[in-house]
Amino acid sequence: MSEFVEAVDIEVTVNGKTYQRSVEPRLLLVEFLREELGLTGTHIGCDTSYCGACTIHMNGAPVKSCTLFAVQADGQTLTTVEGLATDAGLHPLQKAFSEHHGLQCGYCTPGMLMSAKALLERNPNPSDKEIKKQIAGNVCRCTGYQNIIKSVHAAAAEMRES
């Protein structure tokens, strides 16, 4: 059948580890992370790149992994939620979301954390408005966003101090 296309070899660095895989060109990056690499912290919420549950970093910039093909990540460096914590412990954003109740069901949280991380890396002291703008592409249906914004502020404060 013509629908079957030959697999393509890709090399991707995810959370500091390099993977070589052979993937179908149709395979979405989010599926690659979840199914091939078992990194299920990156979630699928809407399938239309609207909700942001699948947000990861590609070369340091936030991207929605349901909108990219795995082959587009060839040669790139990715970070997912699983790459946030280190041996030293939780990332300040993970800590702040825990302490300030920045989540309920937790399904949007990985994407929310990755979007917030991108913001704090370029703007260590964001305003409410800047945080809201940054997470405009991340939907949360549980919290009303209030505690998410509080958590991002708290993480920013901790990151400024350290």
Binding site: T40, G106, K132, N147
Partner: protein, 786 residues
């Protein structure tokens, strides 16, 4: 009661670490060896049709397809995907007219996207490819969008059980005249100084829980049907699945995964029948269904849209003489909890104000739209939209202060509550109103916005409401709990209560720890698999903390009592002379006379013979307590919301400026979780009143079944929010607590509509109040700008 150590504190949530690390396992994350993938073939050609011919042969021939299933390849038994019918007694269910008319795969398509067949294949792609090769011949039927259309005498019948396609009306046997209420409404209207009436429409709103429904099922080698799902009510689903497939309940397990939000969309079953039918077709092999959002949006039940007529009569001084109302729900293609919603919509009406006379009629008609069922609030936001706007209009016409009117005429402690069967147990609504009004600056702003000119106009509105804590006495309430003290005296609390993400497991752990007197680290809730624990209804009706919490508290009191009894025998004192601190049990006032709780627990298990005496070293038996608990109250929480907003009369856009909600919750077990419920509820309530509606074209095809086209409020759309917890303590709730889960969604609806009314002088009867509707009305009425 001594000072509380855990209850009342916003401790770290028990599920937090896995959720921030990304390691929490949701249903979509489950992957089993040899797993197959299921795909449901849905009808996207028609919203109403008969399947005349179904040919699955081409699909079956696709390499990698393991099995194809048509209606005749699965059980012919019918079911009702909701679980509300299980919670009514047989007699009551018969009176209400509950039915089970759904088929796993249908031959009568009743909404766009109805499932007609199933494909099981080695991968999702193969299953999808095969699904496209299914050949179906349909006989198109007329599409009914409104109750008038489906209720027409010549309309095609959705089910022989419901003549005229009327899915429900309040039954004569229970509600004479097919109405609930009291007094003589018609007579009262004759005596009224002011009578107003209007017809409203409340939209079909989607829960949009962030996690789309996913399932894995496996009929395993010990002849046991396993289903991994993120449902809200695993125990009731367990029984439904066992019945549907004629299996003993001991051969079925519903494994509850982490739940990525529910809000009612997972009350009962969604695709559990389909996935289990697939698993039974391929014994020994797990099957997974991962639903895309577009399909989830169509197949999990939404809020019932309703046409809602209301007439109210007042004396000049504001005395509420009478209310007469009728809501007609657009039921969608199947019955589900058809009896309950049309009833509760009226219950919320009869529970709110001291109307001298009240009559409410509720009906539902089948329509060719996706099914409706539970959605946070369960009829309450609908009633709030209508009732609170009607009250507002009456106050304006009678020149009464709307806040003062509400203070004076809301029901309170001792008055009959929503079911008109039990009295309100506690009410601090006036505190809620006072504190909220002060925070938002009600008096000043209300005055300031009374006379405005120019294109941008501000308004401030208020609405009040109450809800319930659990479903008593309307339908079944029951939670069982077993508490086991381990060798080191730490406690395992076995209870089937669900955490939909709201934080229930954290609050319930706090209740257990506080009751036992143990630190939170020494208490763990064992929930999850449906056959690991005794019975619990599941998460609905804002019941988990109130009913589940009380059950846990009783079981923990019992376990603590057993421990104290043993200590009393050792210390040779009466049990009530003892106290516990830091797992040491001591005689009050004589701390040196003590025994370690750990020693008692350990000796109960490692029960050796003392060689010196030849007797056991201590009492034999692991300490374990069990309760089967049914509440006899429902302690409704009361609440008020204030909303301040600005309407751009040139574009129709509404900017939300501030929202203040205050809830009389009795006692906050975990204040941050309570506030989270209020704030998250507000996002959904504001969405219902301003932006959210599922749209369908005249063919019954969905127009906006994706997050891109269905407008939820984002972070930038939300107002500044303040949540006020009013804690006066309820005499019946655990530690004085009442519910907070559903309540948050209710009053933002009425308060927003009333704020728009103040800003524009216009009441919008058709929700949601979109910029288009605002502009249309402004242009029609010719707003002046000077």
């Amino acid at each position: 009661m001594t000072e509380l150590k855990t209850v009342g504190k916003s401790i770290e949530r028990v599920d937090i670490k896995a959720k921030v690390l990304g390691t929490a396992v949701y249903a979509a994350d489950i992957k089993l060896p040899g797993m197959l993938h299921g795909k449901i073939v849905r009808c996207f050609e028609h919203a109403h049709a008969k399947v005349v011919h179904l040919d699955l042969s081409a699909a079956a021939a696709v390499p990698g397809v393991v099995k194809v299933l048509g209606p005749k390849d699965v059980t012919s038994k019918t079911y009702n995907q909701s679980v509300i019918d299980l919670m009514a007694s047989k007699t009551e269910g018969a009176m209400l007219g509950d039915i089970e008319e759904q088929h796993i795969f249908t031959e009568h398509v009743k909404f766009w996207g109805d499932g007609i067949a199933g494909i099981i294949a080695v991968s999702e792609e193969v299953a999808e490819r095969a699904a496209k090769l299914v050949r179906v011949e349909y006989e198109p039927l007329p599409v009914y969008i409104t109750p008038e259309e489906s209720g027409h005498p010549e309309a095609v019948q959705f089910t022989p059980h419901k003549p005229g396609n009327r899915a429900f009306q309040l039954p004569e046997e229970m509600f004479p005249g097919n109405a609930l209420g009291w007094g003589d409404v018609d007579k009262a209207f004759e005596e009224a100084d002011l009578v107003i009436e209007d017809t409203f429409y409340t939209p079909k709103q989607k829960q949009c829980q962030m996690e789309p429904n996913s399932y894995v099922a496996l009929y395993d080698d010990s002849n046991r049907l396993n289903c991994w799902t993120s449902g809200q009510m695993p125990k009731l689903v367990h029984e439904k699945i066992a019945r549907l497939f004629d299996l003993p309940m001991s051969r079925v397990t519903i494994h509850q995964t982490v739940v990525g939000g529910g809000f009612g969309a997972r009350l009962g079953m969604v695709l559990e029948p389909e996935i289990c039918a697939m698993a039974l077709a391929v014994p020994g092999r797990p099957v997974k269904i991962q639903q895309p959002r577009e399909e989830d949006w169509l197949t999990s039940p939404s809020r019932h849209p309703a046409r809602y007529w209301m007439k109210i009569g007042f004396r000049k001084d504001g005395t509420p003489l009478a209310v007469d109302a009728k809501s007609v729900n657009f039921k969608g293609g199947y019955y589900l909890d058809g009896s309950a919603l049309a009833s509760t919509t009226g219950f919320w009406l009869q529970g709110m104000y001291k109307f001298e006379n009240l009559r409410y009629k509720g009906e539902s008609y089948f329509t060719n739209q996706p099914v409706c069922g539970a959605f946070r609030g369960y009829g309450n936001p609908q009633t709030n939209f209508v009732l609170e706007q009607m009250i507002e209009r009456a106050c304006v016409q009678l020149d009464l202060d709307p806040l003062e009117w509400r203070r004076k005429w809301h029901k309170e402690t001792g008055d009959m509550s929503w079911l008109n069967a039990t009295p309100y147990t506690s009410c601090a609504l006036n505190d809620c109103l006072d504190r909220g009004a002060e925070v938002i600056g009600w008096a000043q702003k209300r005055k300031k916005y009374a006379n405005q000119t120019g294109p941008k106009r501000r308004g401030i509105g208020v609405a009040v409401g109450n809800h319930t804590s659990g479903a008593f006495p309307m339908i079944l309430e029951h939670t069982t709990c077993t508490v086991r003290l381990n060798e080191d005296a730490s406690a395992t609390v076995l209870v089937a209560c669900s955490d939909m993400g709201q934080g229930a497991h954290t609050s319930l752990t706090q209740i257990a720890a506080e009751t036992l007197g143990w630190p939170i680290e020494d208490v763990r809730l064992e929930t999850g698999d449906s056959d690991a624990n005794g019975f619990d209804i599941g998460a609905h009706a804002s019941r988990t903390l109130y009913v589940g919490g009380a059950a846990i508290m009783k079981a923990c009191q019992d376990a603590r009592g057993q421990l104290l009894d043993r200590a009393a025998r050792i210390l040779k004192v009466n049990r009530d002379e003892l106290d516990i601190d830091n797992k040491t049990i001591f005689v009050e006032g004589e701390p040196e006379r003590s025994v370690s709780a750990v020693d008692i627990c350990r000796t109960g298990i490692y029960n050796f013979i003392d060689h010196a005496t030849g007797l056991p070293e201590g009492e034999l038996g692991q300490i374990q307590a069990y309760v089967s608990y049914k509440p006899d109250q429902n302690s409704p929480p009361f609440f008020a919301t204030f909303v301040e907003l600005e309407v751009d009369t040139e574009t129709g856009e509404v900017e939300l400026l501030e929202l203040v909600s205050s809830h009389d919750i009795g006692k906050a077990i975990h204040p941050a979780i309570c506030e989270g419920q209020m704030e998250g509820g507000a996002q959904q309530g504001l969405g219902m009143v301003l932006t959210e509606e599922m749209y369908f074209d005249e063919r019954g095809f969905a127009i906006n079944n994706s997050f891109t086209d269905y407008k939820m409020l984002g972070a930038s759309d939300m107002p500044k929010m303040t949540s006020i917890l009013v804690e006066n303590g309820d005499p019946y709730g655990p530690f004085g607590a009442k519910s907070v889960g559903e309540a948050g969604v209710v009053t933002p609806v009425g308060a927003t509509a009333n704020a728009i009314y103040q800003a524009t002088g216009i009441q919008f009867t058709q929700g949601p109040i979109t910029p288009e509707k605002i502009l249309h009305e402004i242009r029609k009425r010719g707003l002046t700008y000077d």
